[in-house]
């Protein structure tokens, strides 16, 4: 068996979701692209040392999480911004006032997610938006399944506590 062919299959199966994951953590296309390359380069270098039977998907998420959070630390808190929010996700033609308010809220939520402990925000994104099981999240974050689940719920509870004033103000979004 050619190990490089196996690796190419791994890339084919997982590069799209890993890119989406990095995009969600970084919220910047070119940073996500750089980190996708870095993730798979690290994976490539380590590929043969991976034990047979390991969960490749969780392993790639583990590498991607490390790469993205290293990147976020280098980027620095001052640069954290939500400047390229996807227009597809916004309601059609909101009023200017509503739009401004909406962007402020979204930026505030984004910053709050960024301020969470890494494992909590990563676990939350993996569970809710990447569709990983708690077992896979546990493998990716090198903790047990209960801890992985606790990370997700702690993230959500912290965020909900930070934004009580927005509770049920549905017209905002």
């Amino acid at each position: 068996m050619d190990p490089t062919l196996d690796f190419e299959r791994l890339v084919e199966n997982h590069s799209e979701e890993i890119f989406a994951y990095l995009w969600r953590l970084l919220y910047n296309v070119s940073d996500a692209e750089d980190d996708l390359q870095e993730t798979f380069l690290r994976a490539f270098r380590a590929y043969l040392r991976l034990k047979a039977g390991s969960n490749h998907r969780a392993w790639l998420y583990k590498i991607a999480t490390n790469v993205a959070y290293t990147h976020l630390k280098q980027r620095g808190r001052s640069e954290i911004r939500l400047d390229d929010l996807d227009p597809r996700s916004l309601p059609t033609q909101p009023s200017i006032a509503l739009q401004v308010e909406q962007n402020e809220l979204l930026s505030a939520v984004w910053r709050a997610v960024q301020a969470l402990p890494e494992k909590q925000s990563a676990a939350f994104v993996m569970r809710k938006y990447q569709g990983l099981s708690y077992t896979e999240i546990a493998d990716a974050l090198q903790c047990n399944r209960d801890t992985a689940r606790a990370h997700v719920y702690q993230a959500l509870k912290k965020l909900l506590l930070q934004f009580p004033e927005f509770k049920y103000e549905r017209n905002l979004i």
Binding site: M1, D2, P3, T4, F7, E8, V11, S15, E16, F19, A20, W23, R24, Y27, V29, A32, E33, L36, Q37, F40, L41, F44, R45, Y47, L48, L82, L85, D86, R88, S89, L90, L105, L106, V109, W110, V113, V125, R127, K128, Y129, V152, Y153, L156, K157, L159, L160, L161, F163, P164, F166, K167, Y168, E169, R170, L172, I173
Partner: protein, 229 residues
């Protein structure tokens, strides 16, 4: 009402069972930020660039393995997609890796499959069952002069010896005997490029930088039934 949602409400939202509007704005905001993901165009571009990089990495992968032979002990060989890049013996695995990856930039994989052809031929040679090799070489990392010296050395038949000065003469630079010796001293693939067949003009063995030094050089020449007068 400032209390947070119950755990079962959160579970319901997390599992995607509650997509109705009756949720805290925070959860809607999170969906707005995270649900869309990158565009199909961005995904396609990222995958194309990644694919290109991976093809380049694969070209640079070095596969290595070792075997043992009573004549010289453990022999390490390293190949890439173009051919043999390194061979050495009398060294540890760490020393061999340091030799082929000085700056720790390359991707190394242990592989018996890619190295099998080289290992079989070198083993047969050491057993006295083979007098020439059918192996591709990748000398692209070497200087033009060193490549010239090594390719000239490659043509020396089994069981014959020439001097450093002979090689220099064949390269059209008769005064370069010392430089020839230095180039052979950095031969990345001893045995396969038979630098042991090159000796000093005064009939002494000269030098040998592969494992075991001159003792190994003498063993290889004895294997080829070369008698030094």
């Amino acid at each position: 009402m400032n209390e947070i949602l119950s755990e079962s409400d959160l579970t319901s939202w997390l599992e995607g069972n509650n997509q109705s509007g009756d949720l805290p704005v925070l959860l809607h905001a999170l969906d707005t930020i995270y649900r869309p993901g990158p565009t199909a165009e961005n995904i396609a571009k990222a995958q194309t660039n990644l694919h290109r990089s991976i093809q380049a990495w694969i070209q640079q992968v070095i596969f290595y393995d070792d075997f043992s032979h009573p004549l010289v002990g453990t022999v390490f060989v390293a190949v890439n997609k173009h051919g043999l890049v390194a061979l050495n013996f009398g060294v540890t695995e760490e020393q061999f890796i340091a030799q082929i990856d000085k700056h720790n930039r390359k991707v190394l994989m242990r592989s018996s499959e890619y190295t099998a052809k080289v290992i079989r031929q070198v083993y047969e040679y050491l057993n006295g069952e083979r007098t020439h090799f059918e192996i591709s070489l990748d000398l692209s990392q070497l200087s033009e002069f060193q490549k010239g010296v090594l390719l000239t050395t490659l043509k020396i038949p089994h069981g014959q010896i020439v001097t450093y000065a002979d090689i220099a003469k064949r390269l059209g630079n008769p005064k370069a005997a010392r430089a020839v010796g230095q180039a052979l001293g950095r031969n990345p693939v001893p045995i396969v490029i038979p630098c042991h067949r090159v000796i000093a003009s005064n009939g002494s063995l000269g030098g040998y930088s592969a494992g075991g030094g001159l003792e190994s050089k003498a063993k290889l020449l004895a294997l080829e039934r070369v008698s030094l007068v």
